[in-house]
């Protein structure tokens, strides 16, 4: 289990993370999403013990990570920049990492490499960017980590490879209770694989939930009532039971973004009997846009 409390990290006079809190359950797949420069990569480097926090704590299985080789032995981090690996062939890197990681799994490494059709004798610098990511993913998974930390691992990979990567992660989570923390901008795929998500903005965690809970909590709701339109005060009275965070109107149809679960919405429906009642759970991408885009231009794209 990963627990972060009150984490703050500054780069000179720039605050990268401030009073940041996060919890990742053991064996779960956690998606970290945020705009560019939100602090995701900084967070992952802090989690991997690469950077030192200014204040706050990062605990993995109740142990601090920074300067803790024992925890780092159980952790594998794939950064966005793969320059480290570029000078090696896969054969060389596997030998090197086998000497460092006690739980190095040669069979798994060979299996993944075969799956990706990678040449073990070729330098990684000669691979395409996507192939480099596959190779490093194979290396990373072969260290048999209990905690896998991936910084945008699937960007640049083709759909087939992405599917394979996800399948390895899911099976490791299921079989070995491997905890995975992924930062990615591919929200559609994250939605399909993650158990929980955290949305970071300007160094702060603005939303952290189980994905199922998140989906059930925010809805796009289309409503219409029979007969002449009610007065504003009547409508306010009707809608006051909903947690409306945005509202728009298209002809006789009212469109809402509401922070209510399905049960609450059904109760409300039974109370007011609208002729049109169409609640749709928001996708992760819509939640992301809604949470970070506010109610200006971005929200329009969700409700239109």
């Amino acid at each position: 289990m990963i627990v972060i409390n009150g984490l703050t990290k500054t780069f000179d006079d720039v605050i990268a993370l401030e009073n940041f809190n996060m919890t990742v359950k053991k064996g779960s797949i956690y998606g970290l999403i945020g705009t560019n420069g939100a602090g995701k990569t900084t967070l992952l480097k802090l989690l991997s013990g690469v950077l030192k926090a200014d204040s706050g704590t990062i605990r993995i299985d109740d142990e601090v990570v920074y300067e803790n080789p024992a925890i780092k032995e159980r952790l594998s981090f794939i950064p966005d920049d793969l320059q480290f690996f570029a000078v090696y062939t896969l054969n060389e890197i596997s030998k090197y990492f086998a000497r460092i990681y006690d739980k190095w799994n040669d069979a798994l490494f060979d299996e993944i490499i075969a799956e990706f059709h990678l040449d073990k004798k070729k330098k990684l610098s000669r691979f395409s960017k996507g192939m480099q990511k596959q190779a490093v993913f194979a290396v990373s998974l072969a260290t048999s980590p209990d905690f896998l930390i991936l910084d945008e691992p699937i960007d640049g990979l083709d759909p087939l490879v992405r599917k394979t990567v996800w399948s390895y992660i899911i099976s490791a989570s299921a079989e070995r209770q491997m905890t995975t923390l992924i930062s990615s901008h591919n929200l559609r795929e994250m939605e399909g694989i993650c158990d929980a998500v955290g949305i970071i903005d300007k160094g702060e965690m603005i939303l952290e939930k189980e994905l199922d809970e998140l989906r059930g909590d925010i809805h796009k709701l289309q409503l219409s009532f029979e007969g002449a339109p009610a007065t504003d005060s009547q409508l306010e009275s009707i809608y006051r039971h909903l947690h409306v965070v945005h509202r728009d109107k298209r002809g006789a149809v009212d469109i809402f973004i509401v922070r209510n679960n399905r049960e609450t919405l059904d109760e409300w429906k039974n109370l007011y009997h609208p002729i049109l009642f169409d609640p749709i759970p928001l996708t992760l991408e819509e939640v992301f846009i809604y949470e970070l885009g506010g109610t200006n231009h971005a929200i329009n794209s969700i409700i239109s």
Partner: protein, 544 residues
């Protein structure tokens, strides 16, 4: 916990092995270079004796090319091995590996050191059969008298000397790698750290000898001090690294390594890619390089001497200031990695530098401590040695006694010496003042072809008289450093009689001590080929 500790070492070995595996071709290239400049050219030499001389000179630290290669190898491996610190991706993966920073530092440091010294070990082995072969087959070779164990000991000492040079240079280069964030800066700062102290010392001595009357200009003593400042220089000047020097340099290297480790442990990896990884390093490097730039400009374009007149000082200060500004701007652009450096923070940094620069110029060009007028009290002097480096000084009976030293320990004799010292200060000051006046007068002449000839001749005569001889005073006082002064003097100055009148001078140079009375048959005093006094000691026992 036990398992963590026990597994740490084999894992460190993994990094060492990996570095050796990756970089051994570079070490091999260095070996080839070393082999080429030593064994290979020795083999090619048609004369076996000359060939062996090359090897012999090499193992006796007599070849300048070896310390140069040593330093280059140290820098190369420091840059290669610690290069991971200067790339964000490499730094991230390396520090995510299951190692503490101490272990990472140690493993990388050790592997770089092994790679740096490996070419020299290989070369030692390559030279070994050549040494023995030459020893056995060349009857004229002077090494023939050496036993195999002596050859091995000489080779061992050569290896040790180079090992210490590598250790010290490599430690400084690694230190540079930790305080910098890019490869280019690493190389520049490593060069600066290795050369700064000797270069700065040399610069200071040039300034002080130009501006302080009596500052020792003795090249050999300056070079001696200079040689202590880096083991490579020590090797170049002394050709042999003694036990004490070896211990001192190993100690200094250990301190540098420890300091580098401490900095590495607190290093902020997010600064990889910046010019420097510590703000304070940026400031210090800026001040140092600007100071060197300022001094170099001052030296390159104009540096006044006591003889150039008062008019030379303002241009010197102006050129120094321009040099400081130009260097500061260039350094700041490199440090900030942008030409847009003109802001409040830069002005503040330059403001601080101005104070440093003024302090430097004041301390080196003005006699603020009364250095020039200081003459020790005879009561505080344990002994004083006088010598003249350039010409034999008052050696009446033996022209071969070049560079003879006169040592005085008696209070009365020391008093005579300090009186002479005081007189020389006054005489030098007067001479300098005359020269400055002459120079200022020459400067005011509008038509350069209308210089009064008599004036020049007089001044040249005066100048030649002054510079004809130099006298060095080495006082041994209560201070561990003693006191040294150097003055020009007129060899015909009657004040020198103060020395001749001392008991210790008489005791050292009286005729009896030089040749012995029993060997003197007669004494004849001549002046202008005219004998005006002659005596036979057998006739006159009171000849002394």
């Amino acid at each position: 916990m036990q398992s963590i500790v026990s597994s740490a070492k084999p894992k460190m070995n993994a990094i060492i092995k990996e570095n050796l595996h990756r970089f051994w071709p570079i070490a091999f290239v260095y070996f080839l270079i070393l082999f080429m400049v030593t064994v290979f050219i020795a083999i090619l030499d048609t004369s076996e004796a000359n060939g062996f001389d090359i090897i012999w000179n090499t193992i006796n630290n007599g070849r300048l090319v070896i310390p140069v290669i040593t330093s280059a190898a140290s820098l190369t491996f420091a840059v290669c091995i610690f290069g991971f610190l200067h790339n964000t991706g490499q730094a991230s993966v390396t520090h995510a590996l299951p190692f503490s920073r101490k272990a990472l530092f140690s493993a990388h440091f050790i592997s770089g050191f092994i790679l740096s010294i490996a070419p020299f070990i290989l070369l030692a082995f390559s030279m070994l059969p050549f040494c023995f072969g030459a020893n056995a087959h060349n009857p004229d070779a002077y090494l023939r008298v050496l036993t195999p164990s002596q050859i091995l000991a000489t080779l061992g000492m050569w290896l040790l000397s180079n090992g210490i040079i590598i250790l010290c240079t490599y430690a400084l280069c690694v230190f540079a790698g930790i305080i910098t964030g890019t490869v280019i800066m690493h190389i520049l700062v490593a060069g600066l750290l290795n050369l700064f102290i000797p270069f700065f010392y040399k610069l200071i001595t040039i300034y002080l000898s130009s501006f302080l009357l009596g500052y020792p200009t003795n090249t050999s003593s300056i070079n001696t001090i200079l040689s202590y400042m880096h083991p490579a220089l020590y090797n170049i000047f002394h050709h042999r690294l003694g036990i004490l020097a070896a211990i001192v340099y190993i100690g200094i290297s250990a301190i540098i390594i420890l300091f580098a480790l401490i900095l590495y442990r607190v290093l902020k990896l997010e600064r990889a890619g910046d010019s420097t990884t510590f703000h304070v390093a940026e400031k210090i490097l800026t001040y140092i390089v600007t100071l060197l730039g300022m001094a170099a400009f001052g030296l390159a374009f104009t540096i006044p001497t006591p003889f150039t007149g008062n008019g030379a000082m303002p241009p010197f200060y102006i050129i120094s200031a321009i040099g400081a500004i130009i260097t500061f701007i260039i350094v700041q652009m490199i440090m900030k990695k942008t030409p847009k450096i003109f802001n409040q923070a830069t002005c503040k940094t330059f403001g601080i530098y101005v104070i440093v620069g003024i302090l430097f110029l004041v301390c080196t060009t003005s006699d603020i401590t009364g250095y020039s007028n200081r003459v020790p009290s005879p009561n505080h002097v344990k002994s004083v040695i006088i010598n003249s480096d350039i010409y034999p000084f008052m050696i009446p009976y033996n022209q071969e006694m070049y560079g003879e030293q006169l040592k005085f320990t008696k209070k009365d004799d020391i008093a005579n010496v300090t009186n002479l010292h005081r007189h020389l200060i006054t005489a030098n000051k007067e001479a300098i003042q005359d020269m400055q006046n002459a120079a200022d007068n020459l400067n005011t002449i509008e038509d350069p072809y209308d210089i009064p000839k008599e004036g020049i001749d007089e001044n040249l005569t005066l100048y030649n008289t002054i510079i004809s001889s130099q006298l060095n005073f080495h006082y041994k006082t209560g201070s561990p450093f003693g006191m040294q002064r150097n003055y020009q003097y007129e060899s015909a100055d009657p004040i020198l009689k103060l020395l001749a009148d001392t008991d210790e001078f008489k005791k050292t140079y009286r005729l009896a001590n030089t040749v012995g009375y029993d060997k003197i048959d007669s004494v004849t005093a001549l002046h202008a080929n005219t004998i005006f006094y002659s005596v036979n000691p057998n006739d006159d026992p009171g000849i002394e």
